[in-house]
Amino acid sequence: MRVTQGTFSFLPDLTDAQITSQIEYCLKNGWALSVEYTDDPHPRNTYWDMFGMPMFDLKDAAGILREVNACRETFPNHYVKVNAFDATRGTESLRLSFIVGRPEKEPGFGLTRQEAAGRQVHYTTRSYATDRPAGERY
């Protein structure tokens, strides 16, 4: 099951040229970009790992794309995303975030039903990948 989240979740995966244009757009707006990765694809997992430092003061997309490629190379079987942080007073949060790398095989999510008192059922989703310990998931 193909995991989607973030800004372009409704589109097929972006090509490098498309990623470059998106990064250019972010740089034009003065946003700081960063690269993050994880092997826990649950949609509520907001704690992805940073790949290197967030990149301030960059003028050109080539430097960021290189960082993206370095991350994909280091973690070929992880999810990789690019974040654009807007430091403007009053915003101070992410403006844009999109997935740029994913594992070859994505096992998807299982639905767990918990039977509670009075025939009540609680639902929760759990990624099959997280059955195994971190670092050995994909």
């Binding site: 430092m53 990149m55 003061d57 960059l58 003028k59 050109d60 997309a61 080539a62 430097g63 960021i64 290189r66 960082e67």
Partner: protein
């Protein structure tokens, strides 16, 4: 580049016998303006200007060749500026970024000026990320390494400068279309630096030497500076300045245009004190005029030693 590429994608006649108008390309790239500005704002430096013209011509011809479907390898444009202090190396580097941007060789046209401290780390494993960080910042523009010979310190074998040089070499080779590296420094030291790093020397296509300025050129520079600072001098004061330059050139630690700037700055100080002592009401002309006595008070005329 936008205007230029529009111009270039327009086919002229049929493929084999079509003609290409260089003049047209030259105008649409607006490089002429930058080159003229260079001529106006930089005095002397004939070999430097010639080289910049050559490079501009090559890049323009290349863009036309590309249009004709001929093979164009992006030329290597890493440069090495050598010359005595105050001969305009940094100024030209700044201009270079703009020219290369206009010609469409680099994408952004900014200049990142660094020295050894920005590239070399303090402990093991600190240098590589630091250098890469700087290179990343310079991408799409020009990386200007001032006093590059400090990177290599042969007397200390545990120095991390070598590591920075190696990364630099690698990047200059692999990311040639992403950034242009310009090294700068005094001539003799740069030569020694290249002798111990032959790989670096051969990867730099353009070694440009900045000649010292003649007395006349320095006077022209002084006038240009005065004009920029909105000060003025009478013809007699200008003669005094000429004499000052002649004397100053013979003294130690002469740093070409930089010495002239310092001299003018000191003259401004004296002018300010003089105006202050007068305590009369001042006209705009008073505020602008640097008098002969402001220059004459310099130690260059008396003791023969100066800073």
């Amino acid at each position: 580049m936008n205007a230029a590429s529009d111009q270039l994608t327009r086919p002229v006649g049929d493929a084999e016998h079509s003609t290409f108008d260089l003049e047209d390309v030259f105008h649409s790239s607006r490089v002429g303006e930058v080159l003229d500005e260079l001529d106006r704002q930089l005095v002397g430096l004939a070999p430097v200007k010639q080289r910049i013209r050559d490079i501009s011509a090559l890049l323009l011809v290349d863009s036309v060749r590309r249009q004709a479907g001929l093979n164009t390898d992006a030329p290597s444009l890493h440069m090495n500026f050598t010359g005595n202090p105050g001969t305009g190396k940094t100024t030209v580097a700044l201009r270079m970024a703009e020219i290369l941007h206009r010609l469409g060789y680099i994408r952004k046209g900014h200049l990142v000026a660094v020295t050894r401290d920005d590239l070399v780390g303090q402990y093991i494993g600190h240098t590589a990320p630091k250098t890469r960080e700087v290179l990343k910042r310079a991408m799409g523009g020009v990386l200007f390494i001032d006093e590059a010979y400090y990177l290599y310190r042969p007397e200390n074998e545990r120095d991390y400068g070598q590591e920075a040089i190696e990364i630099l070499l690698q990047e200059m080779e692999n990311h040639r279309d992403d950034l242009v590296v310009i090294l700068a420094g005094y001539k003799d030291r740069m030569e020694r630096f290249f002798r111990s790093n032959p790989g670096l020397s051969s990867r730099i296509a353009h070694h440009i030497d900045f000649p010292d300025y003649s007395a006349d050129e320095l006077l022209a520079i002084a006038q240009l500076m005065l004009q920029q600072m909105q000060y003025a001098m009478s013809a007699e004061t200008l003669e005094t300045l000429r004499e000052y330059i002649r004397l100053r050139q013979m003294q130690p630690h002469f740093a070409n245009a930089r010495s002239i700037r310092n001299a003018l700055d000191r003259a401004r100080l004296r002018q300010a004190s003089r105006l202050f002592a007068k305590k009369a009401s001042l006209t705009k002309a008073d505020l602008m005029m640097i008098e002969e006595e402001d220059l004459r008070a310099s130690r260059v005329f008396t003791a023969g030693i100066t800073s």
